[in-house]
Symmetry: C2
C-alpha cells in the first residue's frame, strides 16, 4: 500500500523485514527447517540475531511473513472495491488481485519459482503449519472487518461477517493447495471461480 510513504526509516525497516523473510524462506527451502539457525538467517540478511528477534518472534514467523502480507493484501483489496459491487463479485476480484499482487523475490527472474517453493514448504513442514494457519486467521480478522463494513453488519455481534471471512479463508487455502498440486498447473483464476461457485451454490454434493 504505502509504498514509499513516511520516509527513510520506515522504508529501511520494511526492507529489512522482507530481506529477513526471504532469507528465511530460501535457506529453509534449501537446507530444511531444522538445519537452519536464526543465526544463519540473520547473517544472510546482514543483521544481528538480536535484530532478527526484534522483527520476528520465531523462525516460523519469519518464513510465513510473506504469506501473511499477501493474505492481508486481499483484505485491503476488498476495501478498495467499488461500493455497489455485489459482495461475492467483490470478494472474487479482491482475491484475484491479492494473489496476483506483488510477488517480490530476492532475485527478479525466478520470483514465482521461489514463491512456489516457499508455499510448498509452509504447507508441508509440520513445524510451519501452525504459523501458516495463524497468519491466515489474522488476515481473516481484517477480512471480516472489511465485510462487516461493506454489508453494514457488526463483527462483534453478527455471525455473518466472520462466517464469510472464515469460509473464504478456507476456500483460499483449498484453492492454493489445488493450484500447488494440480499438474499441469491450471490458471489460478479457474480454480478460484470453481471453488467460489460451489460456495455460492451451497456446496451441493457432487452427483
Amino acid at each position: 500500500m504505502d509504498t514509499d510513504r513516511a520516509g527513510l526509516r520506515e522504508r529501511k525497516k520494511q526492507e529489512t523485514r522482507i530481506a529477513l523473510s526471504w532469507a528465511a524462506i530460501r535457506l529453509t527451502v534449501e537446507h530444511g527447517f531444522d538445519r537452519v539457525r536464526i543465526e544463519d538467517i540473520a547473517a544472510e540478511a546482514g543483521v544481528s540475531t538480536r535484530t532478527f528477534s526484534n522483527y520476528f518472534g520465531s523462525k516460523g514467523e519469519a518464513i510465513v511473513a510473506r504469506h501473511h502480507d499477501r493474505a492481508r493484501a486481499i483484505a485491503a483489496a476488498l476495501r478498495e472495491r467499488p461500493d455497489g459491487e455485489p459482495i461475492w463479485a467483490a470478494i472474487t476480484h479482491a482475491a484475484l488481485e491479492g494473489f496476483a499482487l506483488g510477488r517480490p523475490a530476492p532475485n527478479g527472474q525466478a520470483a514465482d519459482q521461489s514463491w512456489l517453493e516457499g508455499l510448498r514448504l509452509m504447507v508441508a513442514e509440520p513445524a510451519l503449519q501452525g504459523e501458516f494457519q495463524k497468519a491466515g486467521a489474522a488476515a481473516e480478522a481484517e477480512f471480516a472487518a472489511a465485510i462487516a463494513e461493506r454489508t453494514g453488519t457488526d463483527v462483534a455481534q453478527d455471525v455473518y461477517p466472520r462466517l464469510v471471512a472464515g469460509v473464504v479463508g478456507a476456500a483460499l487455502n483449498v484453492v492454493t493447495q489445488q493450484w500447488l498440486i494440480a499438474e499441469p498447473r491450471p490458471p489460478l483464476e479457474d480454480v478460484l471461480r470453481d471453488v467460489f461457485g460451489r460456495l455460492a451454490a451451497g456446496l451441493p454434493e457432487p452427483r
Copy 2:
C-alpha cells in the same frame, strides 16, 4: 474410541497425556501463558519434564491437546453416521455429537467451566492461536477423508471433500466463538443450525 482396549500400558499413557493437558490448561488459565513453565506442568501431573517432552513438543501443544482430540472426535463421529443420511444432516449430527462428547475435566463438577475457560484461553492468547489452528487443520484432514469416503470422491484429486472440510472447520470456529461470547449463552445447537443453514443457502447477504 477404544476406551479400555489394549491393556494397562495404553490406558496409562492416555491418562498421563490427559493429565498433562489438563494441568497445562489449568495452570495457564490461572497464571498466564508465559508464567507457567513446563516444569510446573510436569510437576502438577506427577511426571518429569523429560516425560512431558515425550508427550508434547511444546507447552502450546499440550494446552491445545484437548481441543485437538475433540475436533478429531467430530471426524470420527461422521464416519459413524448411517450411510444413507444426506451429507449435511450427517455433518450436523456429527458436529453436535462431537461437541457434546466427553468433556472430562480434572474435577468432575466444574468440568464445563474448566473447558470454557480453556477454550477462551486458546482463542485469546496469541501464542496459542497457531497451535489452535493447527489442531483444527489436522482434524480437517481427517474430516476431508471421511467426506471423501462417504461421497465417493478422491481427497487427492477432487476439490470437494477438502473444501467442505475446510468450510465446516471455519464454520465450527465461528460457532465456538459465537457461543463463547454471546450473552446469555445460547444453546450450541441453535448457533450451529443457524450457521450451517447459511452455508447450505450459499451465504446470502443479510439484507
